[in-house]
């Protein structure tokens, strides 16, 4: 879209006001997913497969149905006979199959039946009355084993056009891209390193479990309250799975207790609605933590082979990567994204990347902050670090030498617009952290990271009130303070105080379609939409002023919250403040609102560079992170404090992924660590303060220059920490997490 009158001087944008929803969230008043109830409400519970892979021979629900406190029991049969859309296809079918197992249970924790009862305890008790006969099948949970010729087949025919002939049916997508001639490039290199890397699946670990309250009547009209990153996708998916018209289901997003990509799809919502339809009463469903780990969407696990050639001066002459990603029992592992992002920070003449999407008996992977990118960066940036070490080169200098910039042909194809990688590297080099002395036993690592960012379908509506205040309705749930940034952008355009703008997350019945809060798109896309909607309202304000002055509309401009004549020839009139115009709007043409509906296509890619110091106890292999600095290009930071928060949060999650977090499956294919005791996310005493540097290289695709900041921050940490640990321990770590037993074993092996 055309981006006129780009701004670079700001009044409100770039300030750090208190967030509008702060009071509710510090007093316990804010309503999250599990905090809602309704008259006559029932409580649901879901029965889950104890097997990694099993044919469901028979489900007998009669005893549960006979229980007096049980009001409904549902199985897959309650979803399959849908009157409107008999043939669910593609991703809808995958989601349905994941929400409630069909012929087979495909992973430990796969839902097979559900009940609704008069209390949560009664519902849980009733699950024990459901009898399921399973025929246990061979299973596979490891990505490399799932690709092997003798691996159990999870589903025949799931592969698409892209998979080369002869691959195992568990390989369902194949991606290959790049340019130049890598073999020629390797021949030119002074040193070529080829190495292999493995990462385990991790979970987003949002503290709020999935929760919803659904009501669906026999008239096909429904209400759904749920914790989600996108209530329109929840609406669309639930309607499809239940066979009702999309518009008949109104979905309201609760406050959301963290998502990070994991709440971009549905799990329990269609089940609550199906139970409600059967019981004819509202049904609340809340996952336990164990259900969250077993049956929502963790990341892919990955197995990767990297080969990079470098000249003595640090020039990368060729780079090649093979990325195998396991994404659970359904297509969707982002092997293509891993491949496209892995080498994106560098200006490469010869590059080739291959990605595989592989199915295994695990829960369907979901997005997690820059899905696919962190593992690839771990592998690639580890090899670059090793090359620097062997050639005696400074790791920042080498990255600067090879860094992509405006006009560079990206590893995934096109040429870059204006980007900020070089600026982050220069900031890293100049940062006191990079030159600070290290103590014995400590090591320093750096890494760059890349993420595409996303625009997506967006609707925003802004209504002015007679008193001159404004209400802004957006459709992207506020996960990390986005109400504040929306209000800042609206204030900037309208010229009224930040405090005079009330931002509401609208439900699906009161605003047009909105894509999910993902792809770091909220401040970019809802922000752009907010700016456009506010400008739309400003146009109308100018029209009213022009009419009152009896001059043409184009002779009026908007300045500091007032309509003013656009120049000396327009006439001599006193400025009319917004509130002066809105006070009379009812009698001068009616209410004044602005709106915007479109799909902004200019998200602008983003880069970051992280510096980390780690200390390793050589006797136990235990790592502590002693210092951490995040440097990332935000394009333009609308609310810098919340931008810092995104950087710090991404780094902290990366630290967990690098050091201790992992899905651990037993020989039986069951998840062994489905509680926070054993799925070890960082606690307060594990972390240092996390320093941040906000680099601002404006995105040409946004009127204020915004780039998404939510995801890029988790791309560099895995590699930066692996490099720091490898230097501290004196041995290259090729497997994540770098848990103490793995580090100690590596130290022993190294002598």
């Amino acid at each position: 879209m055309a981006l006129d009158d780009r701004k670079s001087e700001f009044t409100f944008v770039g300030t750090r006001p208190n967030r509008p929803d702060g009071l509710d969230k510090v007093t316990g008043r804010a309503k999250f997913g599990a905090d809602m109830s309704a008259p006559g409400m029932l409580h649901g519970a879901i029965l889950r497969s104890p097997h990694a892979h099993a044919r469901i021979v028979k489900i007998d629900t009669s005893k549960a149905e006979a229980h007096k406190e049980v009001k409904a029991v549902v199985t897959r049969a309650d979803f399959a006979d849908v009157p409107f859309k008999p043939g669910l296809e593609g991703e809808f079918w995958n989601v349905l199959e994941n929400v409630m197992a069909g012929e087979k249970a495909l992973y430990d924790g796969h839902a097979v039946a559900a009940v609704a009862a008069t209390s949560a305890l009664a519902a849980r008790d009733a699950l024990k009355l459901i009898e399921v006969e399973y025929e246990v099948l061979p299973h596979v949970t490891d990505v490399d084993k799932a690709m092997a010729p003798d691996a159990p087949v999870i589903r025949e025919g799931a592969a698409d056009y892209s998979v080369p002939e002869g691959m195992h049916p568990n390989v369902v997508r194949y991606h290959e891209s790049g340019h130049g001639d890598v073999e020629a490039g390797f021949a030119e290199a002074d040193l070529v390193i080829e190495d292999s890397f493995v990462t385990e699946a991790t979970h987003q670990g949002y503290i709020e479990p999935h929760a919803c309250l659904g009501m669906l009547g026999n008239d096909g009209k429904g209400e759904l309250w749920c914790t989600t990153q996108g209530h329109w996708i929840a609406q669309k998916t639930c309607a499809a799975l239940l066979g009702i018209e999309t518009s008949q289901l109104r979905v309201t997003a609760s406050e959301i207790g963290g998502g990070f990509g994991g709440k971009t799809t549905v799990f329990i919502e269609p089940v609550a609605l199906a139970l409600s339809r059967k019981a004819n009463r509202p049904v609340k469903l809340v996952m336990t933590r164990s259900e969250v780990f077993r049956a929502t969407g963790p990341t892919s696990s990955a197995s990767m082979d990297i080969k990079i050639g470098m000249k003595k001066d640090g020039t990368i002459s060729a780079a090649q990567g093979v990325f195998r990603l396991q994404g659970g029992a359904f297509p969707g592992a982002p092997g293509d994204m891993t491949a496209m992002c892995a080498f994106a920070p560098y200006n490469l003449t010869n590059v080739k990347q291959v990605g595989y999407d592989v199915m295994a008996n695990r829960p369907k992977q979901a997005a997690y902050r820059a899905p696919g990118a962190p593992m690839g960066a771990f592998a690639v940036e580890s090899v670059i670090d090793e090359l620097c070490k062997k050639l005696g080169l400074d790791p920042v200098d080498v990255r600067l030498k090879n860094a992509a910039h405006e006009g560079t042909k990206a590893s995934y194809g096109p040429r870059y617009e204006r980007i900020g990688l070089v600026e982050t590297l220069e900031a890293a080099k100049a940062h006191p952290h990079y030159s600070a002395p290290l103590k014995p036993g400590q090591g320093r690592g750096i890494s760059c990271g890349f993420w595409f960012n996303h625009g997506g379908e967006t609707s925003v509506s802004l209504a002015l009130s007679e008193d001159g205040s404004a209400q802004l309705m957006v459709g992207t749930p506020d996960i990390g303070g986005s109400r504040a940034s929306m209000a800042l952008m609206a204030a900037e355009v309208l010229g009224i105080p930040y405090e005079n703008i009330r931002v509401t997350i609208a439900d699906t019945a009161t605003l047009g379609y909105n894509d999910v809060s993902h792809g770091s798109r909220v401040t970019y896309a809802s922000g752009l939409a907010t700016i456009k909607a506010a400008k739309h309202a400003v146009e109308k304000l100018c029209e009213r002023a022009a009419a009152s002055w009896g001059i043409p509309t184009d002779a009026v401009k908007w300045e500091n919250g007032c309509a003013v004549p656009s120049g000396p020839n327009a006439g001599d009139f006193d400025p009319r403040p917004l509130a002066d115009i809105t006070a009379h709007m009812g009698s001068t043409g009616g209410p004044i609102s602005g709106h915007f509906e479109a799909t902004p296509e200019g998200a602008g890619v983003s880069f970051g560079t992280h510096i980390v110091d780690a200390e390793v106890d050589p006797e136990t292999g235990k790592t502590s992170i002693t210092r951490y600095t995040v440097i990332q290009d935000a394009g333009k930071a609308i609310h810098p404090t919340y931008v810092e928060g995104q950087y710090q949060g991404g780094a902290a999650q990366g630290i967990g992924w690098a050091l201790n977090e992992e899905y651990i499956y037993g020989e039986d294919g069951r998840l062994q660590n489905s509680i926070f005791l054993d799925y070890r996310i960082p606690v307060a005493s594990d972390l240092p303060m996390i320093d941040t540097v906000i680099v601002e290289v404006p995105n040409p695709g946004h009127p204020f220059g915004v780039r998404g900041v939510g995801e890029t921050g988790i791309v560099p940490p895995l590699a930066a920490i692996a490099n720091a640990v490898s230097h501290a321990a004196g041995v290259r770590m090729r497997q994540l997490p770098m848990s103490p037993p793995r580090i100690l074993a590596a130290l022993k092996e190294n002598g």
Binding site: S162, S177, S520, E601, V605
Partner: protein, 81 residues
């Protein structure tokens, strides 16, 4: 005419060509023209593609104009978290 650069994995569907020339004024035109030229490209296009025009990635839009002489890349559909 627009030169469309494909990702290398698509060469098997275009008889080895990685650059395809088509007549197109918008992103939607471009996808239709690609399928006319190489029917096997319907698969990847149905699976989801994005289009980069002079480095700006159009994630999904089919109405984006393609200026004359711009550099156009077909990419796999981008996804976010």
């Amino acid at each position: 005419m627009v030169e469309v650069h494909l990702w290398s994995g698509l060469r098997s569907l275009t008889g080895g060509q990685q650059v395809v020339e088509v007549e197109a004024k918008t992103t939607g035109d471009l996808l239709r023209a690609l399928v006319r030229a190489h029917p096997q490209l319907q698969g990847p296009i149905d699976a989801g593609v994005s289009i980069a025009i002079d480095g700006r990635v159009i994630a999904t839009g089919l109405t984006e104009p393609i200026p004359k002489g711009s550099e156009v890349y077909l990419m796999q559909r981008l996804r976010g978290g």
